[in-house]
Symmetry: C2
Subunit: 345 residues, 2 copies
């Protein structure tokens, strides 16, 4: 097993006792950092950054340098999976992703590549991991990630972001066989992709089901849980630890816990009591400060962060309950990280 100068994150992922909780932030490699904004300003667009391995390594390491977080997370985009399956997308400034062509029928789905042949196309991701590992010099572990099948399904069918994803959900009700086929092909691709990420140095894989909140318990049990479980099982069979974060899926938290991931991601809607009552005190959870707390005065950031740590107990990785918002003041982020790093159980 590879060793790190700071391995507190990995020890907690494995369920070990630590002297304090580890801390990192979703979207820590991003617009909160002036260094990131400088790199971004020199480029034509977001996708250029995602597909340039040297720059991926640079922005992945920036938060380790600037914030001293306990883990790096490889800079990338969840939509590289639809891309490698044959569905290209563009990123429209201030609007978000857009797919010129969307998935509407069974024949659209049958045409998609999937599994290893699709995943292997994402060479720029694996090159980015290789360079990152070399330049990180084992200071902290590296997290790899993928979107969950349902979240990627949402974008591929809807074609863009949405508050309701009603066009995507329509397929679940009108054509469940087609939906299951697309979710299966996504699952096969995600398994190969995340295994390759681990082979290229990702120590832990986090699965993001960002749009879980548009479903309910029955639909999540039918269209999400079995696929996430298949991914989780495939990774754990190769000793790759996992984090599952289904944002907004409070209604399925018991089912999510039953998947057996090493860590369960928790959003800021879910109270500590609810979480511990549902998953038990022995499971490692990750989260869940409201990202907007980082706009508050520093003494309040400190007191809210400490209260959260005390409430969750020992089996806890500190994070926000969502990706950090781009306009968050950097000194608010630092107050948050420093509170955790100076905490002692």
């Amino acid at each position: 097993m590879r060793t790190y100068d700071n391995d507190i994150f990995l020890r907690k992922v494995r369920g070990e006792q630590t002297e304090r909780p580890p801390v990192w932030l979703m979207r820590q490699a991003g617009r909160i950092l002036p260094q990131y904004r400088a790199v971004r300003a020199s480029l034509s667009g977001f996708i250029e950054l995602v597909t340039t391995p040297d720059l991926v390594a640079e922005v992945t390491i920036q938060p380790v340098d600037e914030l001293d977080v306990d883990a790096a997370i490889i800079f990338s985009d969840i939509l590289v999976i639809p891309e490698c399956m044959g569905l290209e997308y563009e990123m429209i400034e201030k609007k978000g992703p857009n797919f010129p062509e969307t998935i509407q029928s069974l024949s659209d789905i049958e045409k998609l590549d999937s599994g290893k042949s699709a995943a292997e196309k994402l060479e720029y991701v694996f090159n980015g991991l290789d360079i990152t590992k070399r330049e990180l010099k084992d200071r902290v572990p590296l997290i790899g990630f993928s979107g969950a099948p349902f979240t990627l399904f949402c974008y591929m069918v809807e074609g863009s972001g949405s508050k309701t994803f009603s066009k995507a959900k329509k397929m679940l009700y009108q054509n469940p066989e087609a939906a299951h086929l697309l979710l299966s092909k996504l699952t096969d691709t995600i398994i190969e992709y995340t295994k390759l990420k681990a082979q290229h140095g990702a120590d832990v894989i986090q699965i993001f089901d960002s749009w879980a909140g548009v479903l309910n318990e029955e639909m999540y049990r039918t269209f999400c849980i079995p696929y996430i479980k298949k991914i989780n099982d495939a990774l754990q069979a190769e000793d790759i630890p996992t984090i599952v974060f289904s944002k907004g899926a409070w209604y399925s938290l018991k089912d999510i816990a039953s998947i057996g991931s090493n860590v369960i991601g928790i959003d800021w809607n879910m109270g500590t009591q609810f979480v511990r009552d549902t998953v038990g005190s022995d499971r490692v959870v990750q989260g869940n400060l409201d990202p907007c707390v980082l706009y508050a005065p520093h003494d309040e950031i400190e007191s809210r962060t400490k209260a959260m740590i005390q409430a969750f107990g020992g089996n806890h990785i500190v994070n926000l309950g969502h990706g950090v918002y781009p306009d968050t003041p950097l000194d608010g982020v630092k107050a948050f990280v420093n509170t955790v790093k100076s905490y002692s159980y």
Copy 2:
């Protein structure tokens, strides 16, 4: 007390036994109806429709004619409240509302009109109610509504719709005194506005907290519950029945139940078991079919609607768990309404 040809909705709101559950749909007066689309096509924009009393009456009554629902809901917009307080908005086609000026400071809030003097400016709304009552001819009761203070606060501070409303939430953390002042002024205005609506014929008032889902239990208890309770108390003191629908606030459902509204609105994330465990079986709840079910084949719409009715038990008004989506097939909506109307306990 005014009597109606069909009063099943009002009887259920008052907690009486009925032979079947009543049914109506949030956004039933809207794009699902060809009659509505014809009216809209003849106008320059959405705000022209909202401010023209004859047309308000026409589109309010359309779903009673076309769908045979058990209640009408006055066609309007929640953003007339900021408007009458002095903050104008525009509706941008396919994008949503936009406020050219937003609320950023205490002095912005102090400048706003509020209470009776603000509410009385909305004469076009009250004229719309008068004409609707005259033309509805007591066929069914009429629901009036308002946005909840926090949801209106979100738009006034953020300036437009948002997935996170992080700019609005920032004020809650950075300047809670200013936030409370704005929420108070909104509350005073909403009380006068909804009382005037009742004087002009609204039989029941529904409070929509559409963006409740961006908060958590503690924040909702601090910034929302006291204000909604004040509105609810003021209305019930004048024998005006109330419905409180806080979309996404599953985490505060117990607090919401404690407000004491006649009816509690429920979104589709919340399972029946969760709802009944939290609010008890004696409270009247309203909801909560996933709006996307109406895209399904008719036998599935029927079976899912029946299963929901059986699961909720007698104290239940059938509705969707969210406003009906504009592209919902009209015959799907009819299959839903007809299933309820032919149901017998």
